[in-house]
Symmetry: C2
Subunit: 380 residues, 2 copies
C-alpha cells in the first residue's frame, strides 16, 4: 500500500476547475469531475431537514440510476440551498447544458454546491463556462478542481491510496472541502472519491457507509449541520480486479483503505477548521457501548467552554467533566478519569475513562477562537 | 402590582455577604440568606448527570424536609463539583458550623456553590467567616448577598414584585447569577427567590416548575449545561393571606407574578452573557406544538454560526435556515418564513414562521463574540 498526500486520479477519470464568476475574489469556483467509463456510485448526504437543491436532484438521479454515472459538477461560493423551486430549475439547467456538451444523459450527472445559503446561482455565468470546463478536462485537471470546491478553506484536502488486490493495483483518490459548519451527520463538507475498483453497488454502499461513520461522522468544528453535505464515491471498475461482493476478503481490504482515506480527509478538514489553532483528539474509553462513548466524546467536542479553554491553553478540566455529565449518559462521577496531553502543543489528546465497559470512540475537533467568530461575523 | 428593579427582602428574611478568601480578587464570595420563621421550600436543579456536592446535599435535605427551611449559604469562586466524597464532607462541615451559629437544624439549611469545577473548597476560610456572616444578617444585607453570589457576572440580577392578594400584600424578591454555561435545563445559574406568601408546598412546587419552564429553561448563552444550577424559592407565609392551594384563583395570580419575576431575571442573565454585545429574542411561530417550536428556537439560539453572524451584524439568514433544518423537526422549506429586526440594534428579534400550526415558543440568547472566548480561555 502506498499513500500519497496529493490527489492522483485513477485510470479513466478526468477533471477541471475554473473561475466562472461566483466568488467575489477571483478564485476558482467551478469544478467538473468526469469518468470516461460508466461508474457505479454511492453517496451520503446531510440529515439536515432543509437540503440544498443539488442534494434533492442527486437523490432523484440516484433512484433512477446507480450504475452508470459519468460526471459531477460542483460550484463553490453559493450553496443553492433555501432557493425554492428556482434553485432546482437552476441546477437542472446546469445539468442540461453539461449533458449536451458531454453527450451523456442528465441522469448520469451529479451536482454539488457549497457557499452562502439563500441566494440564487448566477446561472448564466455558470452555463457560459461549461464549454471551457469540458474542453479543459484532463487527469491533471484535479489540481484545479480541488481548488475550485473550496470556500473558507485555507488548503485543499486530498489523499491518494494505492493498494494491491491480488494481481491488480487499485487506486483510491479523495478530495474534500469544509472548514466550518462541521458536525455529524456530515457537515458543510463535500467529499469526492474516485476509484477504479470493480465492485458491486451494494458492496460500495456498505463500504462507504462504514467508512463515513468512522470518519466524517466523528468530526465536529462548531456543532452546526449544513444543508449541503455530500460524500460521493465513483467506481469505474478499470483496475480490472474480479468483481468484489460485500464481506469478501477483498471487500474488507477495500473497506479498510476507504476508511483510512476518509479518516485522513476528515482530520484534514478539522486541521483547517475556521480560525482554529489546535487539533483535538477526544477518546472516550471504557463505555458500555460505542454509541454512548461517541455521545460523550461529541458532548465534549461541541462544548464552547471546553473549546475556548483549549484555545487559552487553560487546563480547566471542570469543563470536560461538565460536558461529560451533560451528554446525558448515566455515570458514576467517582469512577470518571480524565487525562490530557500538554495543552501547549498544537495537537492535543484528551482521554476520558468512564469505567463502565469496554467500548471506545474517537472524535476530532478544533478549538474555538476569536478568529472563528471574525470569519463568521463577516461571511455572507 | 409594583415592580422594583432591585431586591427588597419580604418580611422575615435577612441576608448578608462578605469576602472570605475564595476569590483571588478581593470580591465578596460568601452569602447567607436567613428566614426568621420556618419557610416552605421548592427547588429545581440541573439535569447534568454530574451534580455538585451542594446539589446532592440539598436533594437529601429536601427529601427529609420541605416545610421548615431557615437558611441558604452560598459561595462563589468554587463550584464544589467533581470533588468526590471530600466535596460532600466540606459542604456538610459548612452546614454543621452554620447550624451551630444559627441554632437551627442541619436539615433546615440549603447550600449552593458556583465557580471553578474540580477544586476543593477552602473550608477553613469559609468556617472562620461564618460568625461574621451570621452576626451581620440584616434585611439590607441583600445588597451584599446579591454581590457575593456572582462570578463572571458584571452586575447582579435582581427584581422585586409586590402584588395584592385580597386584603394582603405579597412580596416576591429574586436574585440570580449566571453569565456563561447557560442552557436548559438550568445553567450555571443560581437563583434565590424569597416570598412571604402563605401557600401549600405542592402549590409552590407547581408554580415554580411552570415559571422556570417558561423562563430559565428558555435561555441559552452557550449551550453548555452546568453541574450546579439551582433555583430555590422560600415562602415563609408572613404575608398573612389565607393558605393558597394549587389551581385556585390566588394560585394563578401568584404563578403569573412568579413567571414574570423569573422571566425578568432570566433576561437579565442573557443581557449579562459573557462577552455579549447583543440580546436576541427568537420567536418561532406556527409550529405544530410548543415542544417543536422550542426545539427550533433553541437550535437557532445554539448555533455558533448564527450567533457569530449576529455579532457581525451580518444578515446571513442562511444560518437561520440551516439551524431550523438541523433542529430535526419535519418541515416544508417552501413555507418557511423568517423575519428579523435591524441587526444594528442592541436588542434583536428574530421570528420564524413554520406554517404548520398554531403554537409558538420564545427563547432568549446572546451573540457569540471574541470576548466570550477570551473570558473562557482564561477562566480557571
Amino acid at each position: 500500500m502506498k499513500v500519497y498526500r496529493e490527489a492522483v486520479l485513477p485510470k479513466g477519470f478526468l477533471a477541471n476547475g475554473l473561475f466562472c464568476g461566483i466568488k467575489r475574489e477571483k478564485k476558482l469556483d467551478l469544478a467538473l469531475f468526469y469518468s470516461e467509463f460508466p461508474a457505479k456510485v454511492s453517496a451520503l448526504f446531510t440529515t439536515n431537514k432543509i437540503q440544498s437543491a443539488p442534494i434533492k436532484i442527486n437523490k432523484r438521479h440516484l433512484k433512477k440510476n446507480q450504475d452508470s454515472f459519468r460526471a459531477i459538477i460542483v460550484n463553490s461560493g453559493n450553496a443553492n440551498a433555501f432557493t425554492g423551486k428556482e434553485g432546482i430549475t437552476d441546477a437542472l439547467e446546469i445539468i442540461g447544458e453539461l449533458s449536451k456538451r458531454l453527450k451523456i444523459k442528465k441522469e448520469e450527472i451529479l451536482v454539488a454546491s457549497t457557499g452562502v445559503i439563500g441566494k440564487r446561482l448566477p446561472i448564466l455565468k455558470i452555463k457560459r463556462s461549461i464549454p471551457n470546463l469540458v474542453s479543459g478536462l484532463s487527469s491533471d485537471g484535479i489540481i484545479k478542481a480541488k481548488e475550485a470546491i473550496l470556500t473558507t478553506d485555507t488548503f485543499p484536502k486530498e489523499l491518494t491510496i494505492k493498494f494491491r488486490l491480488g494481481k491488480n493495483t487499485v487506486t483510491l483518490c479523495g478530495i474534500a472541502k469544509g472548514a466550518g459548519m462541521i458536525f455529524p451527520n456530515l457537515a458543510t463538507m463535500l467529499c469526492f472519491i474516485f476509484t477504479d475498483i470493480n465492485i458491486t453497488r451494494s458492496a460500495l454502499d456498505k463500504a462507504l457507509k462504514e467508512a463515513v461513520d468512522f470518519s466524517f461522522n466523528c468530526i465536529t468544528v462548531d456543532g452546526c449541520m449544513s444543508t449541503n453535505d455530500s460524500v460521493i464515491i465513483l467506481a469505474n471498475g478499470k483496475a480490472g480486479n474480479p468483481l468484489i461482493k460485500a464481506n469478501s476478503l477483498a471487500f474488507k481490504i477495500f473497506r479498510e483503505n476507504l476508511k483510512k482515506l476518509c479518516l485522513e480527509l476528515a482530520k484534514l478538514i478539522v486541521k483547517d477548521a475556521e480560525g482554529a489553532t489546535k487539533f483535538i483528539k477526544i477518546k472516550v474509553n471504557q463505555a458500555k457501548n460505542y454509541s454512548e462513548a461517541k455521545k460523550v466524546a461529541l458532548s465534549i467536542a461541541n462544548s464552547n467552554l471546553f473549546k475556548s479553554a483549549i484555545y487559552g491553553e487553560n487546563p480547566n478540566f471542570g469543563r470536560i467533566v461538565s460536558a461529560v455529565g451533560a451528554s446525558g449518559i448515566n455515570l458514576n462521577e467517582d469512577k470518571l478519569k480524565i487525562r490530557a496531553s500538554s495543552l501547549k502543543r498544537k495537537e492535543i489528546e484528551v482521554e476520558v475513562f468512564l469505567n463502565q465497559g469496554k467500548s471506545s470512540a474517537v472524535v476530532y475537533t478544533s478549538d474555538l477562537t476569536p478568529e472563528y467568530i471574525k470569519i463568521n461575523a463577516a461571511y455572507n
